[in-house]
C-alpha cells in the first residue's frame, strides 16, 4: 500500500508517522507542502505538530496551502485520508471534516496516555479492532476539544461516524474520562463517505512495546486489510 505524508512547516510528528508506516510495510513518501502534485497514494496522512506555529487558529493556515487542493481532490475521488492531532485540525479547517477543535477545557496543553473506546470497528481504519475495545493511547494537544452543531452531531450518531471516544481504563465513557472537554467524549470521527478519519490521539506513538505499547498497530494494519 502506498502512503504519502504531507509535511507542513511546523509539522513535527511527520518522522514518527513515517516510521510507523514503514514498520508496517507501507511504501511511504514525504510530500512537501509547496508541491502541487501528489504521488499516487492509497493513503494520505496529515501528521501532528504545530503547522505554521498554530498561529491564528491551529490548522487554519495549513488549510490554505497549495497541496491541500490536491488532498481535497484525492479525498473526493475516494482516497483514504488520515489526520492525526494537528492533521485533524487541518482537516476541519479545510472542511473535509465538519466541526472544529476548541481549546482544551482546562486551557492547558495536555500530554498523557489516556484510553479510547473503539465505537465503530467496521471502518477502513478500525476493522482490526474489536468493537468497544479499549486502547491506551497518547494525546498531546492544546486544542482537542471537539465541537460541532447539533445537526451534525445527529448525523455523526446516525451514520455511525464516531470511531473513537475517550473513556476510562474499563471503557466507561463519561465526564471523568473526558480529558479535554470534547463534545460527547469524541476523539475521532469520519466524514460521511467514510474515507477520511480525523483523530486527536497519536496511534503512531503506540507501535512499539519498549516505547509505549502496541495499541496503535491495528489502526495501520486495518488500512492494509
Amino acid at each position: 500500500m502506498r502512503s504519502s505524508v504531507i509535511v507542513f512547516p511546523g509539522s513535527n510528528c511527520d518522522r514518527d508517522i513515517a516510521m510507523a508506516l514503514e514498520k508496517l510495510q507501507f511504501k511511504n513518501q514525504m510530500v512537501w507542502h509547496k508541491e502541487t502534485k501528489l504521488p499516487k497514494s492509497d493513503l494520505i496522512v496529515i501528521p501532528g505538530g504545530f503547522s505554521y506555529g498554530d498561529y491564528l487558529r491551529s490548522g487554519a493556515i495549513a488549510g490554505k496551502s497549495l497541496i491541500i487542493n490536491e488532498v481535497i481532490k484525492s479525498a473526493n475521488s475516494g482516497c483514504l485520508i488520515l489526520g492525526i492531532c494537528n492533521g485533524f485540525q487541518i482537516l476541519t479547517e479545510t472542511g473535509l471534516l465538519k466541526g472544529t477543535l476548541l481549546r482544551n477545557k482546562n486551557l492547558k496543553f495536555i500530554n498523557k496516555d489516556i484510553y479510547i473506546n473503539v465505537m465503530n470497528n467496521k471502518t477502513n481504519f478500525s476493522n482490526k479492532y474489536k468493537k468497544n475495545q479499549v486502547l491506551k493511547i497518547n494525546i498531546a494537544h492544546n486544542e482537542g476539544n471537539y465541537f460541532t452543531d447539533s445537526k451534525h452531531l445527529d448525523e455523526l450518531k446516525k451514520e455511525n461516524l464516531i470511531v473513537f471516544k475517550y473513556c476510562d481504563e474499563k471503557g466507561n465513557i463519561n465526564e471523568n474520562s473526558n480529558p479535554n472537554g470534547s463534545l460527547e467524549n469524541i476523539a475521532g470521527i469520519l466524514n460521511k463517505k467514510k474515507n477520511i478519519l480525523g483523530m486527536m490521539p497519536h496511534p503512531e506513538r503506540m507501535v512499539e512495546e519498549i516505547i509505549s505499547n502496541k495499541d496503535g498497530v491495528n489502526l495501520f494494519s486495518s488500512l492494509l486489510n
Binding site: Y55, L56, I61
Partner: protein, 97 residues
C-alpha cells in the same frame, strides 16, 4: 398601583449594565510572529493590496455599575491585573453605548 410602585423602586436600585470593549495589541517593536505568518498567508492568497496586519485580543465586558467613569476605572483595573500583559502589550478601552 402597588405593583407599579414596586417596579419603580426596583428600577432605582438596579444598577446599569454598562458595556465596554477592550482591544489589546502588541507594543510596537515587539516581535509579532503570528501577525507575520498571517500577513504572508494573505499575500500568498493574492490579497496584494494588504499593507499590514496586526493581531491582538478583544474583550467584551459587561459590568453592573451606575457611573460610567467608575465602571471604566474598574475595567481598567481588570486590564492591568489580568487581561493585559503590560510588558509587551498596549490596550484601549471603549464604552459601547
Amino acid at each position: 398601583m402597588k405593583l407599579i410602585l414596586v417596579k419603580q423602586y426596583h428600577l432605582n436600585l438596579k444598577k446599569n449594565k454598562l458595556k465596554f470593549s477592550v482591544t489589546v495589541t502588541l507594543k510596537k517593536d515587539v516581535l509579532d510572529p503570528q501577525g507575520k505568518v498571517v500577513q504572508n498567508t494573505l499575500l500568498n492568497m493574492g490579497i496584494d493590496s494588504l499593507q499590514n496586519i496586526r493581531q491582538g485580543k478583544y474583550f467584551e465586558i459587561e459590568i453592573d455599575e451606575n457611573d460610567d467613569l467608575f465602571a471604566k476605572k474598574k475595567v481598567d483595573d481588570m486590564c492591568k491585573k489580568l487581561l493585559v500583559n503590560l510588558i509587551i502589550e498596549d490596550y484601549k478601552i471603549n464604552q459601547i453605548k
